[in-house]
Symmetry: C2
Subunit: 340 residues, 2 copies
């Protein structure tokens, strides 16, 4: 698989490309299945429909890898937290974590067991997906999951998390340890069900200042990736801590691919991390509004990453109002431009 | 004035300190005046009340500088755009900019003239403020103002702005040029009314990738600051483009102080910009939830900036739910710690 070869630093005939959120709302085919399923969580739990939307961008756009359709919050949900999605508000945990007793009541092994519908989705996808295309499994980073578990919903200031972090850092670490244990089991089961690579999304890494990132986020991501690399050395691990361009030189640990978000100049990522890791990214997602902007964006990144170990992607998820035609154009242009 | 001396790179008996949004909702005294005034815009236009809330943090916390109480959006409003603040939604322009005719209808000289209530506020403050304390005037950066003028309200993705930027960059530049001209007049009038320094807030600088920042934001900030420095060389200019740690080494131009946000490590700002500019910042605002976290934060920054040209501040605005006692503690501890 060209995508897996690229993750492992091998030469490939062109730079493989996929897009974060490629199975998503910009695709009419996705919207149709989504409306049949009812709400978002129902779609995540319906293995056949989740398989169907996972495969859509492979067929429609010709991306080099599929990424499992699911949500990072199914893990805390199956650990025992009540999750619902409110229209316009996003995810809500009705009883956010405030004390040790609540944390003690959460399950680790049972969560990994209850996520069987995800493993079933993976088996269905792998049975139908072209043998030359990779399937990427994923999870949220412990820190990012903890922000939802503590805040109960999305937040601008992360006020509750910061209060826990400064006033009761031991409780914060206890949450992060438990989530990390659950993720080790969950990602192992994803791999055993058939994913060919895994990506860990630390979407809210930038909610932490440098010292806090290296205390509360990065060690747990590294622990998870080291665990997986020891157990499954052939499975590439991609880490994506978003928005940390100020301290890339302190990134270390055992993993294969570093996901570069669009706020980090690709030149900077290459300088600081290109010798240690394969880089993935990082076109500014709004460039997909315009074909000329797509061309300029590809040209810039392709020039910088010429002869470097690279996987093409957007620097954040594709937006819901991107024309499908432009998404197709992006994928095709990357594959043409990087040939040879 | 110790604050002005520090802005100009002179030795001071201690590192002066103030806080972004120091006249704000965390102060019961502010909430009282705010509720008397009715809504937020009325308070901005009421020179006596705006003066009163500007002076509150100087009296209550002992900060080394006052910052004019106003809002960055009074400029596009007085240029001719209908502005209202909706509870829970923030600012809204009911007729966002979509075409050249709308832009042509906006006023530059008339805006600067209509903002007389701001100049009156400044005169009232300067008449009552301690002679040793500086008064900081401010405005939004052209790019940040343009985002509101085009989107009509706050946005997560800046979709409309990005479409203009990629599909019609000339229109974007026309908006930015006109706003910059209005700001030159407005900031000149603020200085003539009595402010001792000015700060330009580019709150949404990080909405742009590097190449776009250096095309659509930074040149206009530089143009404004160069204009003001040529006309008023004794007035320090502070520029605060938030969240651009990935390309600090490309920052140049004529100004005095670079405002460092909390996502940028202070060590990095010192390395890249400390030789060229005085640095202001950058304590993580949520540290003010906890006194021990305040101490650790101050210690770290004070150690890095020992013997450097520095003004203490938070790395973003103070949050509405910070205990006043902790805000006082922060100010006092900075002044004590940096003495000598």
């Amino acid at each position: 698989m060209i995508f897996i070869d690229a993750c492992l630093g091998k030469k490939t005939p062109y730079t493989p490309v996929w897009m974060m959120r490629q199975a998503g709302r910009y695709l009419p085919e996705y919207m149709k299945v989504r409306s049949q399923a009812g709400d978002f969580l129902t779609l995540c739990k319906d293995s056949e429909k989740a398989c169907e939307v996972t495969l859509q961008p492979v067929d429609i756009l010709g991306v080099d890898a599929a990424i499992l359709f699911s949500d990072i919050l199914v893990v805390p949900m199956e650990m025992g937290m009540d999750l619902r999605f409110e229209k316009g508000e996003g995810p809500i945990f009705d009883n956010p974590l405030t004390n040790q007793a609540q944390l003690d009541a959460l399950h680790v092994e049972k969560a990994a067991h209850n996520l069987e519908y995800v493993y079933e989705t993976i088996r269905l996808i792998r049975a139908q997906l072209d043998q030359e295309k990779a399937l990427i499994g994923f999870c949220g980073a412990p820190w990012t999951l903890a922000t939802y578990m503590i805040e109960g919903k999305g937040t601008k200031t992360y006020a509750q998390c910061k209060k826990v972090l400064y006033k009761d850092p031991e409780f914060m670490h206890a949450i992060l340890r438990k989530v990390t244990e659950a993720l080790k089991l969950y990602m192992s089961r994803q791999i055993e069900a058939g994913v060919n690579a895994v990506q860990v999304f630390d979407s809210w890494a930038a909610a932490l200042e440098e010292s806090a990132f290296f205390e509360f986020s990065w060690p747990y991501m590294k622990e998870l990736s080291a665990y997986l690399k020891a157990k499954y050395p052939q499975i590439p691990v991609i880490l994506f801590p978003k928005g940390i361009s100020g301290y890339l030189d302190k990134i270390d640990g055992e993993f294969d691919v570093f996901g570069v978000d669009w706020s980090t100049p690709i030149e900077l990522a290459k300088e600081k991390l290109g010798h240690k890791y394969v880089l993935q990214g990082n076109m500014e997602p709004t460039r997909l509004y315009d074909k000329a902007a797509i061309d300029t964006g590809i040209e810039h990144i392709a020039n910088v990453m010429q002869n470097e170990r690279h996987i093409f992607n957007l620097g954040h998820g594709i937006l819901p109002d991107i024309p499908v035609e432009n998404a197709k154009y992006f994928i095709r242009r990357v594959q043409e431009r990087t040939k040879g």
